[in-house]
Symmetry: C2
Subunit: 329 residues, 2 copies
């Protein structure tokens, strides 16, 4: 196990970024079309081609999922991923045309110090193409792809991932770009809200504090022009119906709630995509589905903490510190 979402059979992930832009794109490519859905939790989401993910909509399977910086401009990245997919002969066959289905979500990193004065076509289409081209089983975490320019209220954010296996033998993984209005850590200290869910010291091994004082519980948020939104993907190798994948997405949002605080705020676009590749044998009944959702939530909470733990600071004056930089670990 790599402790990455690519532990789920049938998934590759690639990232691309532009350092001057201080932003980037992460693409998750399915080897074969996968059943997918979505749960939007924040009050200010930015999505492309995502309405079709609701149960009851016709398209059941998709080719890729895209996470991007760049606010609404970043939705260009989906086009780049689609073009790359079409060049591989991928996509939904409609008459004699291939239409790759690659829903995407963005986060707001426009005010992070990078050069975002777009007078011409922004870089996101190209970055989407490059991210798809880079897709592989191994991929780096931290200040990468959609997490390259991401931040939290007090620390640098980034790209995170984690995986686990359910009691039923299904593999589950999570991928996330963490750019929260709030915090992943408790008060001014190094403890992660997700501390209880950590495995094998994957984000520092500090565990939980025994108590949290009231001052540390006061909601800490970014101020004016808040950089916002955490966007994520959870996936499993189970063979699920679209309505079951929707339930998995909803339950995975609980991992976001456990790892970030506050979250799902009015100025957040927090979104979780979920997907089932169907590589594993066996039906998932209601209980197995509940376990898939619970473990997806755990993986996503861990992936959020890993994103922060692995991040490096942006090279701009006044940029937020990284977790390692601030706590010297």
């Amino acid at each position: 196990m790599r402790n990455l979402i690519t532990d789920v059979a049938g998934i590759k992930v690639g990232s691309a970024h532009d350092s001057a832009l201080a932003s980037g794109v992460t693409a998750l490519i399915f080897d074969a079309p996968a059943t997918a859905s979505v749960a939007v939790g924040g009050g200010a989401p930015g999505l492309r081609d995502a309405h079709l993910l609701e149960p009851g909509m016709t398209v059941e399977k998709i080719d890729a999922l895209v996470l991007s910086g760049g606010s609404a401009f970043g939705l260009d990245s989906v086009g780049g991923v689609q073009s790359w997919l079409r060049q591989q002969g991928r996509g939904l066959q409609v008459a004699d045309q291939l239409v790759p289905i690659a829903p995407g979500a963005i986060l707001f990193d426009l005010a992070n110090g990078g050069d975002k004065d777009f007078w011409n076509m922004p870089a996101y289409w190209r970055l989407g193409y490059e991210a798809a081209e880079a897709a592989a089983a191994e991929f780096p975490l931290g200040s990468q792809g959609a997490g390259f320019g991401a931040t939290l209220a007090d620390l640098k954010g980034g790209l995170g991932s984690a995986s686990a296996t359910t009691e039923d033998g299904f593999v589950v993984g999570a991928l996330v770009a963490v750019n929260a209005v709030g915090q992943a850590t408790i008060g001014d200290g190094p403890f992660f809200w997700a501390g209880a869910y950590e495995r094998d010291g994957e984000f520092g091994g500090l565990g939980w504090p025994n108590s949290v004082n009231e001052a540390a519980l006061r909601p800490q948020m970014k101020g004016a022009a808040p950089e916002n939104t955490t966007i994520a993907i959870v996936a499993t190798d189970a063979d699920l119906a679209k309505s079951q994948v929707k339930r998995m997405a909803v339950m995975a949002q609980d991992g976001v709630a456990r790892a970030l605080r506050p979250v799902h705020a009015p100025h957040d676009g927090d979104t979780v995509f979920a997907a089932a590749t169907g590589h594993a044998q066996g039906e998932a009944d209601m209980f197995a589905l509940a376990r898939l959702g619970a473990v997806a939530a755990d993986c996503l909470a861990r992936a959020i903490a890993r994103a922060v733990y692995e991040a490096s600071p942006l090279p701009f004056p006044g940029a937020l510190p990284s977790w390692r930089g601030k706590f010297g670990r």
Copy 2:
């Protein structure tokens, strides 16, 4: 402050139960119509007159909210609350008719050992009336009202409440009937998942464990015929638009995620109502709203732990122990 949802100006709460039935009803009565909305998180909700709570629907203000045991039968309780309200001259005036608006949600406690062999009209209409009649500023927690017959995977559930004040000076409160498929405590021990959020030893003062082993993280759920669903209300004295109240309901679900695990499962109907009485002065901007949602989530997490902490076991053979009974505190 009573540390109850009735700390929010303009709210009274009453409960009624039937011991042989092992079930009951809790009614929250607004002194004057309040703006309200809802966020459904579970996969198997049971609601009455709740669709009107979505932003975009015409009715903006409601008279009461109802939490009930009894699964779909329990939705009768809303009728009892409505009749009591009409007798007080309350309700939406439509031509010369008063129509009290009292959305309600149920939890599944049919298999908890109580006598649920309904051959005649079930008791819920009457219990709803009695709960409304009993509404007051002070009300007891634990095995009361909608929480009378409630359980978790391993412990007796119950009725909980808590309150707090935001930095902006708005009062927030939560009320909940906890009947989760999963757990409010960690593994086999006495620690509450909500431990970090506790105030003044309100649920035992144990805080958090420093670490949680992998076995304790294995999702524990009720088995066949799972008694399920946690239903809650959060409220504030702020004067909010209906769309803002919806956001508060969504954010409050994060408190459910932090206090229960697993939750929002396919067989759960976990629902959070939110309401704003408007007794306080001052507009809530996007940041104040985010703080309202964050504090509502905290209050709801605390209310969930208090529900379990204050509960007493049902008197039936094989009934689940209470937290105090199991841990001797």
